[in-house]
Symmetry: none
Subunit: 209 residues, 4 copies
């Protein structure tokens, strides 16, 4: 998997792209994101801080979203996958770790800005899905694989939907700010996922899980 979004130069001929410029751009972009957030993040300012022409940026990144994404990747350090011995413990550790990374941090602020940008920049949307969302999900599915191996959950349990519940709830609170990303929230989310609301019998729809 490539390190960044940067597309390869169309041919092998000609002067190679300067890795030094590249580093300067990413450094300036990260710094700017950290200091000011996505709202004040402009190509112009990055270009000026990195002492690089705007064209040098546009040669590498098609939109400012994709540049911000690359700068964000360095910042959002990959969190170690928890392995507590139980699914419940793993899920709780994962959600808590995510909350710690995003709640009240510049990372969280950037994350919100990027998800906003994803909604308007289709180029970024592709990158975001393929280079951020999917890898994270793939990693996280291991928690469910292990639970199946341990016999904790059925082999056909839908890990995809489970992940949507776990992180969906988190992103929901992050993006809508209706309620805080508290520790109690994390526990309750995981408890609910593991045990359910326990409303199997009375009404009863098609109860097949």
């Amino acid at each position: 998997m490539p390190e960044t979004v940067i597309p390869a130069a169309p041919t092998r001929r000609g002067r190679p792209r300067s890795q030094q410029s590249e580093r300067a751009i990413l450094a300036a972009a990260s710094e700017l994101l950290e200091e000011q957030g996505f709202a004040q993040f402009t190509i112009e300012e990055v270009s000026s801080r990195a002492k690089v022409g705007k064209a040098t940026i546009y040669r590498r990144w098609p939109t400012k979203g994709t540049l911000a994404f690359d700068a964000f990747q360095a910042q959002f350090a990959r969190q170690p996958l928890p392995d507590t011995g139980s699914l419940r413990g793993d899920l709780l550790a994962a959600l808590r770790s995510w909350i710690r990374a995003v709640k009240g941090t510049s990372t969280g602020r950037t994350l919100r800005g990027l998800i906003a940008e994803v909604q308007r920049d289709p180029e970024l949307a592709d990158v975001w899905r393929d280079r951020f969302v999917q890898p994270v999900r793939t990693r996280n599915r291991t928690m469910f694989d292990r639970a199946v191996a341990r016999g904790e959950i059925a082999a056909d349990a839908d890990a995809e939907v489970a992940l949507d519940l776990l992180y969906g709830a988190g992103y929901h609170r992050l993006l809508q700010s209706h309620l805080p990303l508290s520790d109690r929230f994390a526990t309750t989310v995981v408890d609910l996922m593991v045990s359910g609301l326990g409303a199997g019998e009375p009404g009863g729809g098609s109860s097949g899980a």
Copy 2:
């Protein structure tokens, strides 16, 4: 609760605000949102379509996000609260109804745009939380109240977190586009919420807070 975001005029003296202009603005805004989406939604264009001065818009709405919000409210017709006799049925109906409203529709596109805007416009964020998120949640809590009354779930079940799981999963797929908002997705979400993954005993993680 007022129909729109519009603040009251400071006094009663002078020429009253034209309700006709107001209607023209909202109509133009809705039309523009529907046609072009939030990305091309500019105050300039609304002003030009509505044949209204820009100041007339800014007198009523502080930011373009709040105007878009009001235009969106008309579009996003309030969905009837389902009452199927079981929590599972209610949740499934609610989620399916939401998916029908947003999947592949201009409403869904606008919804994505608005949530994006909420991340950068604090004025809109307040309006969004108080006039959209909270009302919808309040309405939806009824489903859990009824389930408690029916004895389906415990009285102290956390409806807030349950709603975060239900809609959080939906918004997650809407905003990240990693997987489709299929009917199967809806069923699985609800099944999981109701029955859980069923991994209570074997592993038994740190079950405290």
Copy 3:
């Protein structure tokens, strides 16, 4: 005749154009032309010096050439039409006055830059012809009218061509820099125009047309 190139606002409605901005733009433009010449004359710099948005300039002047022209008009003070009592004296005074105005001066430098710009900017070419070249020529024709009245030259003498010889020679040396605009040059030009090379009879080319 209007003072400047500036086109009228399309309608009478809306906020009127600020005459103060206009003055600031023209002042900054003149200053810049004088200091740096046409080569460094940029809309960006004018906008920055005049503390005016670029759009405010573009609203009035379609191209940078037309703005430079207006700034130049103030600088290139209309020279008083000489009246020495003889055509020879008038022509000599006029040419010397022109040389004094352009030789080694910032006006001369700007004049060269503007004529260069005229070759590439059709908008400016029209303005230049109608608002600079023609008025100057009209004024200068008076010298020939007076000479006819005095009986110095024939009534059907071609004043247009005479002006082309007089100023054409001057502009030629200004633009090609092959020889200096000396005082001797002025005298010789006028003598030649008045007396001719005196090669009427011996050779006798095709004297028709």
Copy 4:
């Protein structure tokens, strides 16, 4: 005198300059000038059409003006010096031939563009003066030498100023477009130069030619 502006290579070591590249560059440049005029004439486009690196162009020509000049030289075929037997006939033939070459032709358009460029590119100004203006003038002075030999004009007649009148008038109309380069214009210019306006006596300045 060298054919082009191209400076000699610094040493004789290493790979010799490709004459093929040189031809390709000049061909592409001429073609581009002819098709699009000086305004759209860019080194980038020449380089792309000639399939030649930009450095290969800059190795030979210091600025785009000098390249355009060389491309123009081929186009602007040297006109044969007229020899009609009289000064009047020679001057008329020369001016008409020039008019034929530049009026409404791509050569004329390029000529205007080059003179414009001369005003801003000092490198080109030198080349222009030494390799275009002076040679043409030297050639044209022969017409006056012959006239002196024939006894048509005085031996001390100022041929330089005479050339400034002849071509100055032509360039004036070419560059200012205030009046057409008609055949009648040519005749009148020459008549005036040969016979003068005939205003020797009444006013009378220092009438020494």
